[in-house]
Amino acid sequence: MNETTESPAVKLTGLTKSFGANQVVQPLDLEIGRNEFFSILGPSGCGKTTLMRMITGFETPSGGSVELDGKNVDSVPTKSRDLNMLFQSYALFPHLSVYENVAFELRVRRTPKREIDGRVQDALALVRLQAFAERKPAELSGGQRQRVALARAVVGRPAVVLLDEPLGALDQKLRKEMQFELKRMQREVGITFIYVTHDQEEALTMSDRIAVMSEGRVLQVASPTEIYDAPASRFVATFIGSCNVLDGAVSADGRGVVVPGLGELNAAVPADARPGSGVTLAIRPERVTLSPATTVAATAPLGGVAGTLVERVFLGDEWTFHVRLDSDVVMTVSVPSGQAAAALGAIPDGAPVLLSWAAADARVLPADGSTTAAPSSAPLSSEVSA
C-alpha cells in the first residue's frame, strides 16, 4: 500500500470509449479523493455505466488512462484491481448462502481460514444481517439482497467501491432508508464510494461531490450545494432540481440581463460579461417572490416582472404557482406550505401578479447555442422540485 496522501483514490486522464463509430464517453479528466462519496449523475444512456466499467476493467478504454491510488492500472486485470463493484442486479450467487456469498472473495483470495469467519461476521454486522447468514439469496427481500451485495463488496476492504444505481430496484420508502444506511456504512468503513445514479435527489443528499454527465461529457464537478446554487450550464441547472430559464443578453451597462418582451431583469452578471452577449438566466422557483400586483405601488421591487397567475398546484410540503409572463413564458414559483402560502391564497387564478428575486439568485449562464427555442417548456418539464 502506497500511503502518500497526495495521490487520489481514482484519477482518470483523457479517458474515452467508443463502440464502433459511436463515442459514448468523450475524453474526460477526473480525480476522486480518498474516502469521498462521489456521485456520477446523468440521464439514461449518457455513459455512466460505461465509465464505471472502464474503471473496473470490464471495458477496455478506447483512449486515456486510469490510475488507482497513484498507480496506472491500464494493464492490470479486473481481478487484481483494488476495487469492487456493486451491480444493479446485485449479482448474488444464487447457489451460495448469504455467508458464503460474503466469504467468496476471502476464499478466492486465499485469506487464512481463521481470519475468514471474523471478517465475514464483521461485514454482516455492518449491514445488520447476522441473523440471515444461512439463508439463500432467493429467501431475502430486495433491500436485504442489496445489503448482502454491499457486505460482499466491502469485506475485502477495497480502496474503492463502485455502485451502479444500487437502489434502482427498490421502492420509494426503502430507497430513502437505504440512502441513509449507505451513507452511514460508507463513513464507517472509510472506503471511497463512486455512486452512479440518475436520481438527482439521491445524489444531492448523499454525495460529497457530484459529477453531472450528459451525452458522454462531464459538465460540472462540484459539491451538492454548489451544483444546486451555482450550476455551470443550463443543462445542469434544469437537470438538478427545477429551474426557470430565460434567454436574453447582457444589458448595455452590464448590470442586468435584457430578455426580449420583458425588459431588463435583475441578475448576478459576472464582472467580465460583455454587454450585449447572449446569456441564459436561471432562477430557482423557491427563490422567486410572488406578490399580488395591487401592492406594486407600495413595494415595487427593483427589476420585478409582471405576469398572470395561471394555476397553483399543492404538493404537500409546498405550493407551486405557474405565472405567465408578458413574453408568454411560464415561470414556476414555489412557496412552502403554511403561512406564506396561505397569504397568497387570496389571489384568484387569472389575477395579475408580480415576480421578483434578489440579483444574486438569478444566475447568468452562457447561452447554449442549441437552445434558441422558446424556453417556456423547461420549467414545466421539470416540476419535481428538490
Partner: protein
C-alpha cells in the same frame, strides 16, 4: 368427455409401455419362439453373457457413447459460452450453423463423413465413430447449454471476476454449480443419441468396432433371439437406474433450498 380422455390416456400409456413389458416378460420365457410362454428361465441371460460378439459390441457402444458425450459436452459448453456471452461477429450465423447437423438427413452426413475420412486417409474405427457421433451430439449439447446459460445473469461471472476469481475458479465455483443439471442433461442426451445411433455408425464403424445397434441389426438376418430380450431388459434397468440417480439428486437440490434456514 372426461371418461373418453382418460381412456385415451390409458390407451396411450399402454401403447408406450406394452412393448417394454413384453420385452421383460419374454426375456424370461423358456420357449424359443415369442408367441408362446412356456415357463420361467434365466437361460437367455446366460447366453447373453456368453455371446462374446454381442458383449464386444455393447462395450464399443458404451465407450464411443461416453467419449462422444464428453467431447460434445465440453465443446458444447465452450461454444455456448462464447455465443451467449460475447458479441461474436456473425453470432446469428454460428447459431444457425450449429443447428444444421440436426436438420441435414443423417444419411447425407454419413456419406459425407465417409468421404472426408477416406480422402484424409483415416481408417474407419473407434476414432471415426467418435468423430461421427460428435457431429450429431454436439448441436444437441450446445443447444441445451445455450438455453441454460442465457437464463443466467451475465453479471454473475463479472461479479466473480471482480471478487478476484480467475476464469477457472469462476467456472468451478459459480458456473458449474449453477449449470450442473444442464451439463448433466447435455451429457445424457448426447450419450443416448450416440448409443442408439445406427445410420452414422454404419458409415463410420470399422472392422472390430461394430456398435450394439449395428450388431443387433445384423442378427435380423438370422432371426431375433430371446437373448436380445434379455439385453433389452438390462438396458431398460440401467436407464431406470440413471433416471432414478439423477432424479434423486435433483430432488435433493430442490429440497435443499428452503431447508437451510437454521
Amino acid at each position: 368427455m372426461d371418461r373418453l380422455t382418460s381412456w385415451i390416456a390409458r390407451a396411450v400409456f399402454l401403447f408406450l409401455y406394452l412393448p417394454i413389458a413384453a420385452l421383460i416378460v419374454y426375456s424370461f420365457n423358456s420357449s424359443e419362439v415369442s408367441y408362446r410362454f412356456d415357463g420361467f428361465t434365466f437361460r437367455w441371460y446366460a447366453e447373453l453373457f456368453a455371446d462374446r460378439m454381442l458383449l464386444e459390441a455393447l462395450r464399443t457402444s458404451a465407450v464411443v457413447g461416453v467419449i462422444a458425450a464428453l467431447v460434445a459436452t465440453v465443446i458444447g459448453f465452450l461454444t455456448a459460452f462464447a455465443l451467449v456471452r460475447f458479441r461474436v461477429k456473425g453470432r446469428a450465423f454460428f447459431v444457425g450453423a450449429i443447428l444444421i447437423p440436426l436438420i441435414v438427413p443423417e444419411i447425407v452426413l454419413g456419406v459425407s463423413l465417409l468421404t472426408v475420412f477416406s480422402t484424409a486417409g483415416i481408417p474407419t474405427g473407434l476414432l471415426t465413430l467418435v468423430l461421427g457421433h460428435v457431429v450429431i451430439t454436439l448441436p444437441l449439447a450446445t443447444l441445451v447449454l445455450m438455453g441454460a446459460m442465457s437464463s443466467l445473469d451475465p453479471s454473475l461471472t463479472e461479479a466473480a471476476t471482480d471478487l478476484g476469481a480467475s476464469p477457472w475458479v469462476t467456472f468451478r465455483r459459480v458456473l458449474f454449480p449453477l449449470l450442473r443439471p444442464s451439463i448433466l442433461a447435455a451429457f445424457l442426451l448426447s450419450f443416448t443419441t450416440s448409443f442408439s445411433n445406427i445410420v452414422i455408425s454404419t458409415f463410420t464403424a470399422g472392422v472390430g468396432t461394430t456398435t450394439l445397434p449395428l450388431r443387433i441389426y445384423s442378427t435380423l438376418r438370422t432371426g431375433l433371439t430371446p437373448e436380445l430380450n434379455a439385453l433389452g431388459t438390462l438396458l431398460v434397468v440401467a436407464t431406470l437406474g440413471v433416471i432414478l440417480a439423477v432424479g434423486v439428486s435433483q430432488m435433493r437440490r430442490i429440497l435443499a433450498g428452503p431447508t437451510t434456514t437454521p
